[in-house]
């Protein structure tokens, strides 16, 4: 078609997804679609890699055919696609080989044109269950003196719903006004949220992201740990000092786990000679990344890492100060204070099993030195 132009490259792992467009299009449209393609491959094949795509080239072809027609996205809901093109399993390929069956559904998927395209009809489970995970990530910048320069929370509610029939769910929060900006799965009735601040929806079948939200820097964001640090490069001699201590700050009584510190050292730092009171550290000579894996934070005995850095001699003292990147997890806590108060189900008679989990993680959590 002549005047094709290259437009957007999207990478997941080592794969680049490239799409070609002919006219002025919204780039986010293309990028979002490519993300969706990658997600679909992930759903179908468990991973999205060159081998997997080669192994399943026909299904990939069929999928792309179903997802896009002449630049118009068709079916991008994994539920719908799964009905049209069955995901490969060893068993099915064996059966297909023996019987000459096919991977392609012969019927028009039920969700395709209904007003709820995300759910197929006739779902049946013996154990009816609905799980919700509230996962929050803290993005923060903390300056040298320990003052928070900027902090916000990115939260998501991930759901795993395995309920028979057409259940209509209502999820309500204790404190919905915390949320500054929310984006919902298309299944959520926006008007109900606007009016009553409850999530009312007919869920898709299986795993999906019910909503994502944002608690902005306008609100006070609790910072779970503090970092006491001193990194210095001596003017004379080719060495520097490093000392880092981490302690709990606002943890709401929960334990901080999976604590990990990453520091990207200046190029002139050749090696490090440090002692950690807890956990272990590695220093990658090529990437100059110092990674200190700590684990659980014990408030009685604060983890500390100290020692000397040996520097390339004859090179001027580095001008930049390395930033400290923090990773951590806190189970059973949504740091924003968001809490689910109840989940009700309408439209079906059985009693589902319900569960909510909370998890707080560090997102882009940086401490400047």
């Amino acid at each position: 078609m002549g005047e094709h132009r290259r437009r957007s490259a999207q990478t997941t792992g080592k794969l680049f997804f490239l799409s070609v467009v002919q006219t002025e299009v919204p780039p986010l449209f293309v990028v979002e679609f490519l993300h969706r393609v990658a997600d679909t491959f992930q759903d179908y094949f468990g991973e999205c890699s060159e081998t997997v795509i080669k192994d399943n080239v026909v299904i990939v072809y069929e999928l792309l055919e179903e997802m896009l027609d002449n630049g118009f996205p068709l079916a991008t809901e994994s539920n719908v696609l799964m009905e049209m093109i069955r995901p490969p399993t060893i068993l099915r390929s064996v059966v297909n080989t023996l019987t000459g069956g096919s991977n392609v559904g012969e019927k028009l998927p039920t969700g395709q044109l209904s007003i709820i395209p995300w759910r197929r009809a006739g779902v049946k489970y013996t154990n009816n269950e609905a799980y919700f995970d509230v996962i929050e990530e803290i993005d923060a910048i903390v300056d040298k003196s320990g003052t928070t320069v900027f902090a916000e929370i990115q939260g998501v509610v991930e759901a795993c719903v395995k309920l028979s029939g057409m259940p209509d769910l209502t999820l309500s929060f204790m404190n919905p006004r915390l949320l500054d900006d929310v984006s919902f799965h298309p299944c959520v009735r926006f008007k109900r949220w606007e009016a009553d601040r409850v999530l009312s929806f007919i869920p898709p079948d299986g795993n999906f992201r019910l909503m994502s939200y944002h608690v902005s820097s306008q609100n006070l964001v609790a910072i779970p740990v503090y970092v006491k640090q001193n990194i210095s490069f001596l003017e004379t001699g080719s060495c520097g000092r490093l000392e880092i201590t981490i302690g709990p700050k606002q943890t709401m009584g929960k334990t901080v786990e999976a604590l990990m510190v990453t520091i990207h050292m200046p190029k002139s730092v050749l090696s490090v000679n440090l002692t950690a009171t807890q956990g272990s550290y590695t220093y990658d000579l090529t990437t100059k990344a110092l990674i200190w894996t700590i684990g659980k934070l014990n408030p009685q005995k604060l983890p500390n890492l100290r020692g000397s850095l040996s520097m390339q001699s004859g090179v001027p003292k580095p001008e930049e100060n390395p930033s400290i990147n923090l990773d951590l997890k806190i189970q059973q806590l949504a740091i924003s204070g968001l809490k689910v108060s109840r989940l009700d189900m309408y439209g079906e008679k059985y009693k589902p099993f319900k569960g909510v989990k909370y998890l707080t993680k560090a997102g882009k959590f940086q401490v400047r030195t």
């Binding site: 919204p26 080989t97 019927k107 028009l108 900006d181 944002h214």
Partner: protein, 966 residues
């Protein structure tokens, strides 16, 4: 147990063989032959496997077109998967085997009647992808049926197929009436069908900009808004983008659409969010600002924009580029969200730079402390480009937020203390700008700056430092030594530094003449004798002349007070910004260019414009916004330290002689200055040959077409001649003057016939009269008087008819005019009633003068002022006119107009259409702003005029027409 394990093992092996990668491995010779055999096998399964192998080969680029007939044979099957695969193959190879492809037509047509909607849709979809004329002919009937199919899935597929067919054969689609059917689908009961119909129509409309396909009216809009709530996310994007092209009738409709679009801001798909933002930004223009809802909408827009920033970097980047536009248009939306733009050290560099840019745009007195602290932090980062930009940003903050200037300067000094080379250099460049914005305030830091002189190795920084030394030579004890040290390697410096050094030393000389005579002679001879660079040489000559002829004047010129630089730089020009706002979310908004600038072979482009606002006027906006209005397309204002050397020369070193009147006079004043320098200077060079001087002056080409009266006296004669000559040779043309017409016929004048015209020559407004005596007796005692008129035009002296006018004698008289007479509004505005007296009687007549005669020489507005004024004048005052049958290029037109003191301030070219922004000033101080649009090949021009006194527009337009057609 063992057995079970074995079985599992076997299954594994089996399983691994089951994958499709095996299709890629058959690379033997005779492969095609083998495949051919398999394709013709009786066993279904074997056939399918073979088709899969063919597809795999096709995927990796092997030519399997030889198998075309065999693959097509497999098409008639009830196995859907096999059918799909064959269709895939067909789409790929039909073009290269058109004759063979016909073989498939029957099956397609049959499939379009299949009871299974999936197959009907698949068939019509595939046929649309086969770009073979013969096939498309057969497509029409099935397509027509499918567009009316009972199953919405088929209908929505067929809708897209119309767009495909249109791309192949537009005429066919129109002839077959598919467009109307498609339009009907907008009212379909199924939202997905509506969305696809909209998408298809939008695509078709793109190639037919004038077809009025998407004829949007309140009814269709309502249907779209209903479908918006129910269709898929992709459909929502199509519908939102389509809505954005609609112009609501009034603010109430606008508000109701906004209300129905706002829920889309909470969509998980970022493309939906951005398309919704576009619709809202556009329709907001129509809402009165005092409306409560306007405020609500502003509040609702901020959070989704902020949320976009938490996505992947590439999404973030698109969001940031769009936010950059939004912030320029409506800074109030994000004014409290400064912190989200703070940079994280592991952000990719493209995100960092964009965030920084937005931070500066949002910087205000309220948040400047935070911003500065951040910028200082960034200045110690690793990434050099980012650090540089951060340092510059500190300077921009100082210039933008006056209250913070002091803090910014001290931050910059701190940074200079770090001695990091590139930081120091950037800091010096921005400090120079700060000096120009706040003169005589921060000069105490000069000593610190001087300490770093040796470490500067970039031209821009060196030039900035030299400028500082020259500008403040009287406060720097060893200024001469410093400058002398630069002079040693004069010829190795870049032009920028050389020019700056020349100017700085001349400044130094004028300030401390006694000890620097030698230095100035040295630099002048270096510049004039040893340099090949004409700019440098010319500047050297100018100074030389100036200094040798009149040192006092030199001082006045070189050391004159400089205009302050303005605060907002690199804002996007308002019309472009408006257009880009209409393209939020698209590539245009990422490139910050109109789509026509980068879409290849754009098939006709519409320029989108924001709807005009209703209700309260723009002028009552907060000062915040109006400052954003002072916009231009190039970073102007700040000292043009590189590039336009002439501009550099004019802006930096020479300023208007203080006598020429109000500030806007700057430019023409400067040119006058230059003229003077050249005239006088060459004079001495050539040994005082006056004729030579004017010739040379014109040779330099910089002379303005007409010069102010006060100035032109000595040279005007010579210049006049030159201009008359020059008219034909592409020199700047003289002012337009209409041919003489008879004002007083002899019948009414008792034998006296007066014909005349008006002219503006060398800045002097005059009436040129031809008096003819057709009577039998001698006429004497001529005198002239004007009635009161709109612009107070009056004779500046008596009518000079010294000798009596004998019968049949003709005399040419020139009557200089001024505009200080009594004023009375006339109708038409440019009407002038004249009374002429002679020994016989008093005669009255009236005539009309072209209003261009009243355009003064200093009518060139500064860009910034122009943009602000344009925005400031209410739209009601704008009038538009057509000039027909004019065949000038934009440059020629601009040149012609300039001759009549209609000055072109800026020119922009948008897909072949040139827009000239022009200003003129009337003798009574009324400014008229104009936008002249002309398109190559189109003899009809459009002039839009804006003026605070709209009554003059009609006259101004007549002048435009007269000047251009002359």
């Amino acid at each position: 147990m063992q057995e079970w394990a074995n079985q599992l093992c076997e299954n594994r092996q089996f399983g691994s063989k089951m994958t499709d990668s095996k299709y890629f491995t058959t690379t033997k010779k005779g492969e095609i032959f083998e495949l051919k055999a398999e394709l013709n096998s009786d066993k279904k399964e074997k056939k399918k496997e073979a088709v899969k192998k063919v597809i795999a080969s096709m995927t990796v680029g092997k030519d399997v077109s030889a198998l075309f007939p065999d693959v097509v044979n497999c098409m008639q099957t009830d196995n859907l998967e096999l059918k799909k695969l064959v269709y895939l193959y067909l789409m790929n190879y039909a073009k290269s085997q058109p004759d063979m492809a016909i073989m498939a037509v029957n099956t397609f047509v049959k499939d379009c009647e299949d009871p299974n909607p999936l197959i009907r849709a698949l068939a019509v979809r595939t046929m649309g992808c086969i770009r073979v004329d013969k096939i498309t002919e057969y497509l029409c009937e099935p397509l027509r049926k499918c567009l009316k199919d009972e199953d919405p899935y088929v209908r929505k597929t067929a809708a897209v197929c119309v767009a495909k067919l249109h791309d192949i054969n537009a005429q066919l689609v129109e002839d077959q009436g598919f467009l109307d059917t498609l339009k009907d689908l907008i009212s379909d009961s199924n939202p997905m069908v509506v969305a696809n119909a909209v998408a298809a129509l939008s695509e078709i409309a793109e190639s037919h900009p004038n077809s009025n396909l998407m004829d949007l009216n309140p009814q269709t809009i309502n249907k779209l808004l209903t479908a918006l709530n129910e269709c898929t996310e992709w459909g929502q994007i199509f519908i939102l983008d389509c809505l954005a092209n609609y112009t609501p009738r009034d603010d109430r409709e606008s508000q109701s659409i906004c209300e129905r679009v706002t829920p889309r801001l909470s969509h998980a798909n970022s493309a939906v969010v951005l398309s919704a933002v576009k619709v809202l930004m556009k329709f907001m223009e129509m809402l009165p600002k005092d409306l409560d809802y306007y405020g609500t909408l502003l509040k609702k827009l901020a959070p989704p924009l902020v949320t976009l920033l938490s996505a992947e970097p590439e999404l973030q980047y698109v969001a940031l580029r769009n936010i950059n536009l939004i912030v320029q248009r409506r800074p109030e939306i994000l004014k409290h969200e400064m912190k989200v733009f703070f940079v994280k050290y592991n952000d990719p560099i493209y995100v960092k730079l964009e965030k920084l840019d937005i931070m500066i745009r949002l910087a205000s007195q309220a948040n400047i402390a935070q911003v500065l602290a951040e910028l200082k932090e960034y200045a110690t980062e690793v990434d050099v480009d980012f650090v540089r930009k951060a340092v510059r940003a500190i300077g921009r903050c100082a210039i933008k937020v006056e209250q913070s200037a002091e803090r910014c300067v001290s931050t910059l000094l701190d940074l200079i203390q770090t001695k990091v080379n590139y930081v120091v250099q950037e800091a010096i460049v921005v400090i120079k700008d700060i000096f120009r914005k706040y003169p005589n305030k921060y000069e105490s830091v000069i000593a610190t700056l001087c300490e770093n002189l040796d470490s500067l190795d970039e031209p821009e920084a060196r030039a900035a430092m030299i400028w500082i030394v020259g500008e403040y030579a009287e406060r720097i004890d060893n200024a001469d030594e410093l400058l002398e040290s630069f002079l040693e390697g004069f010829h190795d410096e870049s032009t920028q530094v050389q020019l700056q050094l020349l100017t700085a030393i001349v400044k130094l000389f004028l300030k401390k003449p006694t000890e620097t005579q030698e230095l100035v002679q040295q630099v002048l001879s270096l510049a004039t004798q040893d340099s090949d660079n004409p700019d440098l040489r010319d500047r050297g000559y100018i100074y030389w002349r100036l200094l040798s002829t009149d040192p006092v004047a030199a001082k006045e010129v070189v050391l004159a007070e400089k205009p302050l630089i303005s605060e907002e730089t690199d804002l996007i020009e308002p019309t472009l910004l408006e257009e880009l706002i209409c393209h939020i979310g698209t590539l245009a908004s990422v490139y910050h260019k109109p789509p026509s600038a980068f879409v290849e072979g754009s098939r006709g482009v519409q320029h989108k414009r924001l709807p005009g606002s209703a209700g309260s006027g723009e002028s009552v906006e907060s000062p915040d916004t109006s400052s954003a209005a002072g916009i231009s397309d190039a970073p102007p204002a700040v000292i043009p330290s590189q590039g336009d050397l002439l501009g550099d020369l004019l802006n930096l070193d020479v300023t208007p002689p203080a006598t020429t009147g109000p500030p806007p006079a700057a430019n023409s004043g400067v040119q006058m200055g230059a003229m003077d320098l050249l005239g006088g200077g060459l004079d001495s060079l050539l040994g005082g040959d006056l004729g030579g001087s004017s010739a040379m002056g014109a040779g330099f080409g910089a002379a303005p077409a007409a010069m102010p009266a006060s100035f032109s006296a000595p040279v005007s004669g010579g210049l006049d001649d030159l201009f008359d000559l020059g008219g034909g040779v592409g020199m700047p043309m003289g002012a337009f003057s209409p041919p003489k017409t008879v004002w007083l016929p002899a019948m009414k004048g008792k034998g006296l016939e007066i014909s005349g015209t008006f002219a503006r020559r060398a800045g002097v407004f005059q009436m040129e009269l031809t008096l003819m005596n057709k009577a039998m007796s001698v006429m004497t005692d001529f005198a002239i008087q004007f009635n009161r008129n709109s612009f107070g035009i009056a004779p500046a002296g008596p009518l000079q008819v010294l000798t009596p006018l004998s019968p049949n004698q003709t005399i040419e008289v020139t009557l200089p005019l001024n505009t200080v007479g009594p004023v009375m509004k006339m109708d038409p505005l440019n009407n002038l009633q004249v009374a002429v007296k002679n020994n016989i009687d008093v005669f009255y007549f009236s005539c009309q003068y072209p209003i261009s005669m009243l355009f003064v020489e200093d009518g060139k507005m500064e860009r910034q002022v122009f943009l602000a004024t344009w925005k400031d004048i209410p739209n009601d005052n704008e009038s538009q006119f057509q000039i027909k049958d004019c065949h000038l290029s934009s440059d020629a037109a601009s040149n012609k107009l300039q001759g009549s003191n209609i000055f072109t301030i800026a020119k922009r070219t948008v897909d072949g259409q040139d827009m000239l922004y022009q200003s003129m000033k009337l003798t009574n101080g009324i400014w008229v702003l104009a936008e002249l649009r002309l398109q190559a090949g189109n003899p009809n021009y459009t002039v839009s005029l804006k003026c605070r006194a709209p009554e003059v527009s009609q006259c101004v337009f007549q002048s435009y027409e007269a000047v251009l057609k002359n």
